[in-house]
């Protein structure tokens, strides 16, 4: 029985490692500028954790195979010096490893969350609500109309609480249910939530950021390929959470210009 456990441990270790190495259930291909850094960090973390995982599990299997209880009474051997020095050494080594990974990854993190967006970035306002996303472009005047939460009226398409009667800058704002952006164009999002916590997650952009009601959260990215990807909510936000999604459409620049014109005509 003990030897069977040793064999099983070894098999599980090898198979699960093989699944990771062959990238069977991996993220979709990255389509963003900053995603390259995330992917590198991810691989470094996986290799560091993976090597330790494989060594530890195979050692466990070996020890179970070699020293398992076979019904014959043998004296229990104590590791020289007791277990305490080993636990202390292991804690220091693992702690050091995590610290190094954090320091290496800090640059990637800062590039996404602490660096201001490109000054020429396309600014898009995002409203998350149960259970949909809406995206707002500034329109021909380049300015967003002010948001008045008390004027939000979903049934009439006023998802951002605009006041076009009194606020001329709001009249040309373009509202879309899809996030449409030109390829290779820095994009700057400001995230708003109308009701509860939501999340903006696009695996192909390697971006995941929560919405918090009452906060305006900045986020930026640059898509490098013409793709259509799902934007999903990853914060349990209520009954229809499973159904909360929108699409990111990355278009060639001229096609995007045409899309903006078509949308402007509809407002």
């Amino acid at each position: 029985m003990g030897r069977l456990f040793a064999v099983l441990t070894a098999v599980i270790t090898v198979v699960s490692t093989a699944i990771f190495i062959s990238r069977t259930w991996w993220l979709p291909a990255d389509v963003s500028v900053l995603g390259v850094g995330i992917d590198r960090q991810m691989v470094e973390t996986m290799v560091a954790a993976g090597v330790l995982f494989v060594l530890a599990q195979l050692a466990l299997a070996l020890f179970v195979w070699q020293y398992g209880d076979r019904g014959t009474p043998r004296p229990i051997k104590i590791f020289p010096g007791g277990a305490t020095p080993m636990v202390v050494i292991a804690t220091i080594l693992v702690g050091a490893e995590i610290l190094v990974l954090t320091l290496v990854g800090a640059k990637v993190w800062a590039g996404i969350f602490l660096t201001p967006p490109d000054p020429k970035a396309l600014h898009i306002d995002v409203q998350a609500e149960q259970f949909a996303y809406y995206f707002r472009y500034a329109g021909s005047d380049g300015r967003f109309g002010a948001m008045h939460p008390e004027l939000i009226d979903d049934g009439n398409g006023n998802f951002f609480g605009l006041d076009p009667a009194n606020d001329t800058t709001a009249r040309d704002d373009i509202i879309s249910a899809s996030l449409v952006v030109p390829v290779n164009q820095p994009v700057f999002l400001t995230l708003h939530s109308k009701d509860v916590g939501h999340a903006f997650y696009v695996p192909a952009l390697r971006l995941q950021q929560d919405f918090v009601p009452g906060l305006v959260i900045p986020l930026h990215f640059t898509a490098t390929q013409v793709v259509k990807q799902e934007i999903v909510c990853t914060q349990l936000c209520g009954l229809g959470h499973y159904n909360m999604r929108a699409y990111l459409e990355v278009m060639p620049r001229n096609q995007f210009g045409q899309w903006m014109q078509d949308q402007a005509a509809l407002q």
């Binding site: 259970f131 996303y133 049934g155 009439n156 209520g238 009954l239 999604r245």
Partner: protein, 246 residues
């Protein structure tokens, strides 16, 4: 037990109907239809109405594919000659009280849209709400006078049954699909009409007398007129709402 009773009462109703019909046709009895008058008219607007927006249902593909061209928001729908659609015109005062009909009013959720946009029902009249879609809906009538509720309805679920005990115009939304928007017009009269794309309405079967006729529209509000119905003459009541672009 109940079946013979029902068939008996149906038979007796039929025979009463026959007697009335025959009597009316012969001119022997002045039936209610003979003296009843009609109030008809048109609901129109002046000014510039707000622009309706196309509804993007990309997040719900099973609904999006039912609309090759996107449907528009319906809070202000206008027709030729400045006609106003979806106005509810009803007798607010002056009519004899009547008991609520037992025929249910059907309200559909189809293609992630409420059909009809405005459903008219009487106080106490049963309402049946159907989900004809392949997705879950969560209908939420935003009642303020009547009790408020919201109910989830997966595809294939039986109709939701409801009724309201007080007159009220109730905005209806879906808690899953924010763009879905409709109204329940709960009235305490059986004399009502909802305008079509020509803005026309006709309230029939009104005995001679004085009536308050009210036209209600979700964006434009309410207007009332005093109308007198005299025997054998058609009364008219036209309503003009002032529209603003924003």
């Amino acid at each position: 037990m109940s079946t013979p009773y029902l068939s008996l009462s149906a038979k007796s109703l039929m025979s009463v109907g026959l007697v009335v019909l025959t009597a009316t046709a012969m001119g022997a009895l002045p039936g209610p239809a003979a003296s009843a008058g009609t109030i008809s008219g048109t609901v129109t607007f002046t000014g510039t109405p707000p622009k309706m927006r196309p509804i993007d249902m990309a997040k719900e593909p099973s609904c999006a594919k039912q609309h090759p061209t996107p449907i528009m928001t319906e809070s202000v729908v206008t027709g030729p000659g400045n006609a106003v659609q979806w106005a509810v015109v009803y007798i607010a005062a002056g009519a004899q009280p009547s008991s609520a009909p037992t025929t249910p009013v059907r309200y559909d959720q189809k293609g992630c849209e409420y059909l009809p946009h405005v459903a008219t029902l009487e106080v106490g009249q049963p309402l049946e709400i159907y989900n004809d879609d392949q997705t879950s809906h969560n209908i939420h009538p935003l009642a303020k006078v009547n009790p408020e509720w919201n109910k989830s309805q997966p595809p294939g679920a039986p109709p939701i049954k409801a009724s309201y005990s007080k007159p009220e115009f109730i905005a209806v939304k879906c808690n899953v699909h924010p763009w879905m928007h409709g109204y329940f017009a709960v009235l305490s009269t059986s004399h009502s009409a909802t305008t079509g794309n020509d803005g026309k309405f006709s309230l029939e079967g009104l005995p001679p007398g004085k009536y308050t006729v009210t036209a209600w529209h979700e964006r434009f509000g309410s207007q009332s007129q005093e109308v007198t119905v005299t025997e054998g003459k058609a009364a008219t009541a036209d309503f003009v709402f002032k529209a603003l672009p924003y």
